[in-house]
């Protein structure tokens, strides 16, 4: 679910860069307030690598197979570090594989980083008391927010002379087609966090 190059007007792409820069500045401010942020870089990089690699592997979600977004899981395990991790992942995908796009990098950053932060917030607020519910909502909620942001940007960015009703219909189909992905990511985050809570609690971000 990457916005490709050339779909939205340049003004929107530049606004996306500005929004991503703002998110990045906020995230760096929060990260620098942590006790030893440099010591966390290898951990964040290794987890980013796993998320990047896992998003390249297709997972069967009937009736088809999908590539997971994992924004929710990034939020839960990386916290504020999810913002730089998302931007690095998107940049590498754009320049190495042609996924997403270099002009759409800012907008894609917003589409993925905001849901990751939402998942982080959900996990912090709900996950402590009801971990399974928090995990499912973090995984599914991130996909749903990403879909909403993606659909809004595409609707606002497509040429005005196109049939608005047809655009809305196409986006509705697109969003409905991704509902199984939202459920699947909820189930995956729930199961995965159960394992991590038992085996490796340090992987859950605190702060």
């Amino acid at each position: 679910m990457h916005l490709p190059d050339g779909i939205v007007p340049v003004e929107m792409a530049l606004a996306g860069y500005a929004c991503s820069a703002g998110l990045m500045a906020l995230a760096l401010h929060r990260i620098k307030a942590r006790p030893d942020p440099q010591a966390e870089i290898p951990r964040v990089a290794m987890l980013t690598t796993v998320f990047f690699a896992a998003s390249l592997v297709a997972v069967p979600v009937p009736p088809t197979s999908v590539h997971l977004m994992l924004a929710g899981l990034m939020g839960v395990t990386l916290g504020w570090f999810a913002v730089p991790a998302v931007l690095v992942g998107l940049f590498l995908q754009a320049v190495l594989f042609g996924h997403g796009g270099i002009t759409a990098l800012g907008l894609n950053g917003v589409v993925f980083a905001l849901p990751a932060l939402l998942a982080f917030g959900i996990w912090q607020q709900i996950g402590r008391r009801w971990p399974d519910l928090g995990a499912f909502l973090a995984g599914s909620g991130a996909v749903i927010l990403a879909l909403a942001l993606f659909a809004t940007i595409v609707l606002a960015g497509l040429p005005a002379e196109l049939d608005a009703a047809a655009e809305r219909m196409a986006l509705r189909i697109f969003v409905l087609a991704h509902v199984p992905l939202a459920l699947a990511e909820g189930v995956i985050v729930l199961t995965l966090l159960r394992v991590l809570r038992r085996v490796e609690r340090r992987l859950l971000y605190h702060g």
Partner: protein
């Protein structure tokens, strides 16, 4: 090409300038010039096979747009076949979006995809990117192949062992991912210990040396080309 052409910092700037120049195109008349520019860069990079291989995904997306938009959008009907109507506005929009998309991806891949990871990250550092982001990018690139291979092996092993299918297989995938994350945590502790032993302080990737004459020439030519595309788009 990396030895002969502009350095990594200049390549990043050139890619951004050209990409935004192409993205600002609003009319179809200028697209042939944009294609010439993109094809020229791909050929000059000497990496056209790699660029074509990596453009499969974007090409499929462009093809999808060229099928969906002309049939689903617009008011002026050009042709009719049974329930399908080919519409002018949708066709024009599809050609414009697909043209911009493929050109930008080709330019980006031709300029950046062949750069060694360390040079790419050093180029980012020279653009004043925070050290945290640059180090994150470098370490991610360093371990990407290894981790991808591990995950693929784990998925293959799971398939060979049999197990659940469909929705019931999701927890198995989650467990595989959890294993990957736990290994990553262990690996990160070793990497951090090694980084401290080597005196890690100001970032893994140092900014590159100052820009050379050919870098400035490359960036100037790219700026002129991007402004030329925008100007042609206005006048044609």
């Amino acid at each position: 090409m990396a030895e002969r052409g502009p350095g990594p910092t200049a390549r990043l700037v050139i890619a951004l300038v050209l990409a935004f120049g192409i993205a600002s195109v609003q009319g179809l008349a200028v697209l042939p010039y944009v294609f010439v520019l993109a094809i020229g860069l791909v050929l000059a990079s000497g990496q056209w096979r790699m660029v074509l291989r990596r453009m499969r995904g974007p090409a499929l997306l462009a093809l999808g747009l060229c099928v969906v938009l002309p049939l689903g959008s617009g008011t002026t009907v050009l042709a009719e076949l049974g329930p399908f109507r080919l519409r002018l506005e949708g066709l024009e929009a599809a050609a414009l979006i697909a043209g911009r998309l493929l050109s930008i991806v080709a330019v980006t891949l031709a300029l950046l995809a062949a750069l060694p990871p360390f040079q790419l990250v050093a180029g980012l550092r020279s653009l004043r990117l925070p050290a945290l982001l640059a180090d994150l990018a470098l370490l991610t690139l360093r371990y990407l192949d290894e981790v991808t291979a591990e995950l693929r092996r784990a998925h293959l092993a799971r398939q060979i062992r049999g197990g659940h299918r469909g929705w019931r297989a999701l927890p198995d995938h989650a467990t595989l991912l959890a294993t990957g994350l736990i290994r990553a945590q262990a690996r990160s502790e070793r990497v951090w210990a090694a980084m401290r032993l080597r005196g890690y302080g100001a970032g893994l990737a140092m900014p590159l040396a100052r820009l050379r004459a050919r870098d400035w020439i490359g960036m100037s030519v790219a700026l002129i080309a991007a402004l030329g595309v925008i100007w042609l788009d206005r006048v044609l």
